[in-house]
């Protein structure tokens, strides 16, 4: 994971030489992953001794960065990176079960905007490689068996549509509330059922589609 992050950082720095714009954003993220929902639903159904049910993965936080370095009229493009965290926690007597789900997306984004204006609506489409990491904690500590953490990694592709509106905050910065809707049609994460329901192949597929929606705020350095 550290190597990937370093690679992204290097890429960001390298592209900064020709950079026209650097954006950072934070958002609330909603996700729905049908197959993972099914696994958690099965976990809950099959364990009546868990009074409090394990919530489905739904809401979490996200940070994103975009570096735009080419421009043609109103179209600019560049690299994008985002990290999201979603948690599912159930608290039962003697047994607090927490599922920590991390997403990292790295991709290419194309933005349409009227960049000459401080106030300007913009729209983005981005294509990215999606990776996920799922970890399980029990009673506050990593769940370990056979001397290793219970974990599942995933990989897939993602398409995102973003729309926002830049507002000039002060002489230095603009900010933009935005809405992002994305879909990952295929995230291959074969160990997910092993982590959540502690079975393999009992519930179904080793991949899932993930819908995500974000509402957030982006910030950029004022170019005027």
């Amino acid at each position: 994971m550290t190597r990937q992050l370093l690679f992204i950082l290097m890429l960001t720095i390298a592209s900064a030489a020709n950079a026209q714009e650097f954006n950072g954003g934070v958002s609330y993220q909603y996700i729905s992953a049908t197959q993972w929902n099914k696994i958690i639903q099965t976990y809950n159904f099959s364990r009546p001794f868990m009074v409090q049910k394990q919530p489905l993965f739904s809401g979490g936080g996200s940070v994103s960065f975009t570096k735009l370095f080419t421009k043609h009229k109103h179209i600019s493009s560049g690299v994008c990176f985002s990290y999201a965290f979603v948690k599912s926690k159930s608290t039962n007597e003697n047994f607090i079960n927490t599922l920590n789900l991390h997403f990292i997306n790295i991709g290419y984004t194309i933005r349409y905007s009227d960049i000459d204006k401080a106030k300007a609506a913009f729209g983005e489409i981005s294509f990215s490689a999606a990776t996920s990491g799922l970890f399980r904690n029990v009673n506050g500590a990593s769940f370990i068996y056979d001397d290793a953490k219970s974990k599942a990694f995933g990989i897939g592709g993602n398409i995102n549509f973003k729309a926002g509106y830049w507002i000039n905050v002060n002489k230095k910065f603009d900010c933009a509330p935005y809405l992002n809707v994305g879909y990952c049609p295929y995230l291959y994460a074969p160990n997910t059922e092993v982590v959540i329901n502690e079975t393999r192949g009992l519930i179904g597929k080793d991949h899932t589609g993930i819908f995500n929606a974000q509402i957030g705020l982006m910030i950029r350095k004022n170019s005027n």
Binding site: F45, E93, E198
Partner: protein, 446 residues
């Protein structure tokens, strides 16, 4: 547009954008399956082993009417407990928790049941002496491109001579089989789905205690023991079950959890008869002989695990993981060795044969300090007839076919019906118990 107006509008749009998918996906967003299903019918569960008990426990939690018919005098199946023999409770059946990444692991955590990892040491009886390390590694059955031949033949192919015969019998015995009958290929294929972890744990009490307290207790009043099901007529909407006393039971759904040996030997008659595909699948799932003999001694002359005996390929110190420390040695006998000992005809003869072997290993120390024994022979139990299921040569998809339901009325559970690598285990049986309740409720939705 003024900034304030814009912010209002964008907030409205954004919230709408988030709520819309939530509404669209609301049917997928329930925490648990089947929250909306109401089933007023009756379910009969045949067999009160781990799978049957768990299916009942689950149905009870969902408010569905059910009854469990158990052929034996006690519930628990291949789980059991012996008290009074030692100063700690002894597991008559399954005793090791194989990996803690399982539903049983969750049950143990939530009930604060005490378990300890079994890190006991092993010696091998090899060329008539006890040694701690074998000249060659006999654990060769998890390779790539394995052939569909027996463990015995594969060991010979790999240069493990007759001196390794009983070591190989022990490895196959762990899988419930004689080495000559267990498929290297299919055993490995099924093992690849194993996801529970490799460490073995022992219960401070017994495995039976966990299942009894957490699962069986809530459904005890629904178990009818000494009820031997002889016929299942599912030709009409209502399924009619007849027992050996000609009592009739009606049900809308039946979950069969009996050992595979009972199905293989046609102890239960089905009307209409089962398809040849189904019966062939049953026949291809192996289940060999198995017994446990507990030997009590006045002193501890034996090692923690002794592998490779000619009469018994696996002895284990039963006191490991227990609070008390009576000197109890478990003889865990499977396959051909269990068949041979069963053929001796009496518990005394079985005990004598084991003592003779231990005397040879420990220079007469066994007979000198022997106090008593208890023989638990699952092979001669008419409602179990063996140890647990194993992968036979050429078995193909037999477990999958065997586990398929019939006409949305008859469902099959039990360790032998576990198709995701957890057959032979209690948690594997439990998984099939809840799997079939889910399948049954899914069929009601369709």
């Amino acid at each position: 547009m003024k900034r304030r107006d814009f912010l209002k509008q964008s907030a409205f749009v954004s919230i709408g954008g988030l709520l819309l998918p939530s509404q669209l996906l609301s049917s997928c967003k329930k925490d648990s399956l089947f929250e909306e299903i109401k089933f007023d019918g009756k379910v009969l569960i045949i067999g009160a082993g781990a799978a049957g008990l768990y299916a009942g426990y689950l149905l009870q939690s969902k408010g569905i009417d059910f009854q469990i018919l158990e052929a034996g005098a006690n519930y628990g199946g291949r789980l059991g407990k012996l008290t009074g023999f030692a100063n700690f409770p002894v597991d008559l059946g399954a005793q090791w928790l194989h990996g803690k990444n399982s539903i049983v692991g969750d049950l143990i955590k939530s009930s604060k049941t005490k378990i300890t990892i079994d890190e006991s040491s092993t010696v091998f009886w090899f060329n008539n002496q006890l040694i701690s390390t074998l000249p060659k590694n006999p654990y060769i059955f998890e390779d790539k491109n394995l052939p569909d031949i027996s463990f015995k033949d594969y060991a010979v192919q790999k240069g493990l001579g007759t001196e390794y015969k009983n070591i190989i019998e022990n490895i196959a015995g762990d899988q419930g089989a004689a080495a000559s009958l267990l498929s290297v290929y299919f055993n490995n294929l099924e093992e690849k789905n194993w996801s529970s972890g490799d460490d073995d744990y022992k219960f401070e009490e017994t495995y039976f205690d966990l299942i009894d307290k957490q699962i069986a207790t809530p459904v005890k009043n629904k178990i009818r023991e000494n009820t031997i099901v002889k016929k299942i007529d599912y030709s009409l909407d209502t399924i009619v079950i007849t027992d050996s006393e000609n009592n009739i039971y009606n049900a809308d759904k039946v979950i069969i959890t009996v050992p595979i040996t009972v199905l293989k030997s046609n102890d239960i008659e089905f009307l209409p008869g089962l398809s040849s595909v189904k019966t062939t699948a049953f026949s291809k799932i192996g289940m060999g002989a198995g017994m446990k003999v507990f030997l009590k001694f006045s002193n501890k002359f034996f090692d923690e695990n002794i592998i490779g005996g000619n009469i018994c390929a696996a002895y284990a110190d039963e006191s490991i993981g227990k609070i008390q420390d009576d000197n109890i040695l478990l003889a865990f006998i499977m396959g051909d060795q269990a068949d041979y000992l069963t053929s001796l005809g009496s518990d005394n003869a079985i005990t004598a044969a084991l003592l003779q072997e231990l005397d040879q290993m420990y220079n007469g120390a066994a007979s000198a300090s022997f106090i008593g024994s208890h023989v638990q022979n699952y092979t001669t139990n008419p409602f179990i007839k063996g140890a647990y299921s194993y992968s036979t040569i050429g078995m193909g998809d037999s477990r999958k076919i065997a586990a398929q339901s019939i006409d949305k009325k008859i469902y099959f559970a039990g360790e032998a019906m576990n198709i995701n690598g957890h057959h032979q285990t209690v948690h594997g049986a439990i998984e099939t118990g809840y799997r079939e309740v889910i399948n049954m409720l899914n069929d009601l939705k369709k």
